[in-house]
């Protein structure tokens, strides 16, 4: 756990609705992420987890409600604005630039004005965190293994010097050993002062790694709280652990 600093609210989502045409994907969703926290977003497929992350980073516009980051209203912001404010979104499927090298993918991660000045320092930090990326820096992204691609996606997100990392389905398609390695790295990233809001299919894993969690069902938050408490909650056990 990060040292005894008081945690302030970093991200505050209040009562947002997201509609895809006439289909409503999110219903009055509210959540909070505080500095230094690791918060899990849990739920079945199509429960709205990715939609929520997309709304926060700015790909989707909410019909109602408010999203605040470090006290600023970002409800109407585009993705290239939120990056500049300190939110890094590592999307589902990683979405690397397939024909560019590891190095090019990384340096593009610091395109925003916020990160540009610190590009060299951030690159060093990413290579220290992921030595395998350093070794393969001139390799074309699409030729990397699944685990290496996820590392690259994470590293690219970190290049923007974020205060909050949005992580969508990091472990999809990866072997458990690789996933374990990645989560250990996430804890290192968190220890360095970056808050993390992550979507994870594996409910047990998310409740193990997170401080707090929100459970989404059909676009609504049905349960939230300390991960340790949720792990023992009867509804969670029944719904997700098949007990």
């Amino acid at each position: 756990m990060a040292g005894g600093q008081p945690r302030t609210t970093l991200l505050k989502v209040s009562e947002i609705d997201i509609l895809y045409g006439s289909f409503q994907a999110l219903w009055g969703v509210s959540l909070e992420v505080r500095t230094g926290e690791m918060v899990a977003l849990v739920g079945a497929n199509s429960s709205g987890k990715s939609t929520l992350l997309n709304a926060i980073s700015g790909f989707l516009r909410s019909a109602r409600g408010r999203i605040e980051f470090e006290g600023k209203d970002i409800t109407r912001d585009n993705p290239w604005h939120t990056v500049d404010l300190g939110i890094a979104h590592v999307p589902e499927g990683r979405r690397l630039f397939p024909d560019l090298t590891v190095l090019d993918n990384l340096i593009l991660g610091s395109y925003s004005a916020r990160a540009r000045a610190r590009r060299a320092a951030n690159l060093d930090a990413v290579f220290t965190l992921f030595p395998r990326l350093a070794q393969r820096r001139h390799q074309v992204a699409k030729t990397l293994s699944g685990g290496e691609q996820q590392m690259l996606a994470l590293g690219r997100g970190l290049m923007s010097a974020p205060a909050l990392l949005l992580l969508d389905e990091m472990s999809l398609g990866l072997a458990p050993i690789v996933v374990g390695e990645l989560y250990r790295t996430l804890q290192q990233i968190r220890a360095a002062g970056v808050a993390i809001l992550f979507v994870e299919q594996n409910v047990k894993q998310s409740l193990r790694e997170a401080d707090r969690a929100y459970i989404l069902e059909k676009g609504r938050i049905v349960l939230s709280g300390e991960a340790a408490v949720l792990r023992e909650a009867e509804e969670v056990k029944r719904a997700y652990f098949g007990v």
């Binding site: 290239w80 340096i107 593009l108 004005a113």
Partner: protein, 289 residues
């Protein structure tokens, strides 16, 4: 001359390659815009012919066409940027097809505006040096064809260098590979698209000058140029610069050899046939994605 001695082919082959460079230059802007924003700019041929007429206007003021590019290239770049920012960008917010329709509109407006300004009479950029020719063995090659190829190679090398070696160019390349991911990096894809459109217009200005030096043009030449550009990118594959270059060479050779064997009237037929055949055999183009 219809003797089938191989050395007689030297002239059409050399001319075909040189012409191919010019065709690649014309197609470059079309390929770039499609690669970056998946839009087929049907006004591209008209941008090129506008470049020819702009150089023609410069000539009436005593300005050499190639020198006029010093003004023409930035001017067309600004025009392209503005057209995208205020027209095409808004159209893309309406529907997926709207930008294509807007491009048609721009094409029609350009053709008619040019016709009003300069009449339907055929024009040409005639300078003192375009009548010169150089001798290669038994072939007499017009100097202007060589200039065409040199210009094409310079522009392609510059564009390739920009896209692959500069930071902004890499951002453009990234935006063409995955627009959403690019936005997540802080790249404003709206601005990037306008920039690509500007670069395409600037290359159209250059292509217009060299085309105008090589062939006569009328206000409706844009259509013919668009068809050639289309053929080049179909053969070479949309979004690939090497493909565009090779596609141009193939079509240039088809035209030059077609003219050599079947006469000038039939010289475009082998060109269109080549496009059809290659489209049937390899729809995605030589290097298409």
């Amino acid at each position: 001359m219809s003797a089938a001695v191989p050395s007689d082919l030297a002239a059409p082959v050399i001319m075909g390659v040189l012409l191919g460079g010019l065709y690649a230059l014309v197609a470059l802007g079309l390929s770039l815009v499609f690669g970056v924003m998946k839009l087929i700019n049907v006004a591209h041929g008209d941008f090129v012919v506008l470049g020819s007429y702009a150089a023609y206007a410069g000539m009436t003021l005593g300005l050499d066409p190639i020198l006029s590019l010093l003004v023409g290239v930035p001017a067309f770049g600004v025009m392209g940027f503005g057209l995208h920012r205020f027209l095409m960008h808004r159209a893309s917010g309406i529907s997926a097809e709207a930008p294509l329709i807007v491009a048609f509109g721009i094409s029609i407006i350009l053709q008619n505006a040019i016709q009003i300004a300069w009449s339907p009479l055929s024009r040409g950029l005639t300078t003192s040096y375009i009548l010169a020719s150089l001798r290669f063995g038994r072939a007499d090659i017009p100097l202007v064809y060589l200039l065409d190829l040199v210009a094409a190679l310079i522009v392609m090398a510059a564009l390739h260098g920009f896209l692959r070696r500069t930071y902004l160019g890499k951002a453009v390349t990234a935006a063409s590979q995955d627009a959403r991911a690019a936005q997540l990096m802080g790249i404003n894809t709206d601005t990037i698209h306008a920039l690509a459109f500007a670069i395409a217009a600037a290359t159209a200005a250059i292509a217009g000058v060299f085309l105008g030096l090589t062939f006569p043009f009328t206000p409706s030449s844009g259509v013919a140029y668009l068809i050639i550009a289309f053929g080049v990118v179909i053969i070479g594959g949309l979004g690939s610069m090497l493909g565009t270059f090779l596609g141009g060479i193939i079509l240039g050779l088809a035209q030059a050899l077609g003219g050599h064997f079947f006469g000038a009237a039939a010289q475009m037929l082998p060109v269109y046939l080549t496009v059809l055949v290659l489209l049937a055999l390899r729809p995605q183009g030589l290097f298409g994605r």
